[in-house]
């Protein structure tokens, strides 16, 4: 059905896979949270297609943010997000203090919002260096993301707060 003319499938082409490495914590007992999750880079890529982990040409870190899917209408929270690479020591990536829940709505807050979030610049640089690769998969195989914090008010049951590292991996598709 599809004809030649001047139309061809690009060969090879790259799919920029968007891989949100995301940990969401339930706010326990209404006023605190503590959650962690470990991500295996290959496994995250394989969730899109099992053949893609062997076709990766580059990886990069695109964004880091913290947000609440359904924030309470009032109150604020304070906390931190840390990471551990391949089982090494835990490193604090950023902290936030008395951030109004309303600021965590939608995309939440990220690196550019310096008034609400305080990044550990050295930790961020180390994280980007460890996860970024200009050719193939990075040397780092796993990353554990840890989020802890407290709220100023008791929040409704089911309230969640999420930390997200938006990670990209380029899968090369060829015939």
């Amino acid at each position: 059905m599809l004809l030649g003319f001047n139309c061809k499938i690009v060969d090879p082409f790259l799919i920029a896979l968007n891989l949100p490495l995301e940990v969401c914590a339930g706010v326990n007992a209404g006023n605190s949270w503590n959650e962690q999750e470990t991500f295996n880079i290959r496994d995250e890529i394989a969730k899109v297609s099992t053949s893609y982990p062997d076709q990766i040409k580059a990886t990069r870190v695109s964004d880091i943010s913290v947000y609440m899917p359904n924030p309470p209408t009032s109150g604020s929270g304070s906390g931190s997000v840390s990471y551990r690479l391949d089982g090494q020591a835990l490193v604090t990536l950023f902290t936030f203090t008395n951030v109004p829940f309303d600021s965590l709505r939608g995309n939440g807050i990220s690196y550019s919002n310096t008034t609400l979030i305080q990044f550990n610049r050295a930790a961020l640089t180390a994280l980007i260096a460890a996860l970024e690769s200009p050719s193939g998969l990075p040397a780092t195989a796993t990353i554990t993301v840890v989020t802890i914090g407290t709220t100023t008010v008791t929040v409704p049951q089911g309230t969640q707060i999420c930390a997200k590292i938006l990670y990209q991996a380029d899968a090369e598709i060829s015939s």
Partner: protein, 291 residues
């Protein structure tokens, strides 16, 4: 390798659950996927509503059976090769240009913060986006004919482009039969097409139009004006742990179409071609066999 070349290499094989095109789309949320895939909606829409007729003459009676092989193609313009995408919130720049499905290689953009972002490459390299389908027309009953078209293809290019199925049909009715001494053949027609691409893309196309034409021996000149609507529905779960559901409708650019064409009738054989003008420029043509 051309799509025609790829199609010649088709063989029965176990397909992966999703094609690479579908995997590209699943990287995008509902806002971003619009920019990447909208040109495909525009061009597919223009294609499925093309080649629906190649004459305005519909006699009031007699047996008519004709099998046509119709080819159509829509022009891919430069502004359909990139689109503006919103960068992640940490970037100091808010937007960047990135390829559509017809675009060039994706480029990486860096932010002083150290974050980097890249869009997927285009998948189709085309100046003319083609489609072809067999079409059967049967008539005539009280100046009316019916047309059906159908084709299905397996995934091509080692699962880069998914399986597709096009099914459509319509009816046309002679208006000139009610006009004594009509100087032209005149007809009205309605057509509906449904085109499925893989598991997550569905097109529908509707065309309502009037045609006029005149025959000079073996030469047939024809034209038409039509209102049309095409819609691409995307329905998938976005990749990633958030697993957001995406279900959006994208309307094709064409809503009105003007057609000018000519054909030759040589016994059982018909040869025809036309140009279609609207928001999308389209050409179609074909060869037919019938009585």
């Amino acid at each position: 390798m051309t799509l025609l070349g790829l199609s010649l290499l088709l063989s029965s094989r176990i397909a992966r659950s999703q094609s690479d095109l579908e995997n590209v789309l699943k990287q995008y949320d509902s806002q971003m996927v619009k920019g990447y895939i909208q040109p495909l909606a525009d061009l597919f829409g223009a294609n499925v509503n093309a080649g629906l007729f190649h004459s305005a003459a519909i006699p009031t009676g007699g047996l008519h059976i004709e099998l046509d092989i119709i080819g159509m193609g829509s022009m891919v313009t430069d502004d359909q090769k990139t689109y503006q995408v919103t960068l992640p919130p940490s970037f100091s720049s808010r937007t960047m240009k990135t390829p559509t499905v017809f675009g060039p290689r994706g480029t990486e953009v860096s932010d002083p913060s150290g974050f980097k972002y890249k869009g997927s490459d285009g998948i189709l390299d085309a100046s003319l986006f083609p489609l072809a389908v067999p079409q059967l027309t049967v008539g005539y009953v009280y100046g009316t004919e019916a047309t059906i078209r159908f084709i299905t293809t397996p995934s091509i290019g080692d699962d880069k482009f998914p399986k597709t199925t096009l099914v459509g049909g319509g009816v046309r009715h002679s208006i000139s039969q009610y006009i004594p001494q009509a100087p032209l053949d005149i007809a009205l027609g309605f057509f509906y097409n449904k085109f499925t691409v893989g598991d997550i893309i569905d097109f529908t196309g509707i065309s309502i139009g009037a045609q006029a034409g005149k025959s000079f021996s073996v030469l047939n000149l024809y034209g038409g004006l039509a209102w049309e609507k095409s819609t691409m529905n995307l329905d998938y779960t976005q990749s990633g742990s958030t697993a957001s559901l995406v279900n959006i409708d994208l309307d094709g650019a064409n809503t009105f179409r003007g057609t000018l064409g000519a054909g030759l009738k040589l016994g059982f054989l018909s040869i025809f071609a036309d140009a279609n003008f609207g928001s999308v420029t389209n050409i179609s043509g074909g060869i037919g066999f019938g009585i």
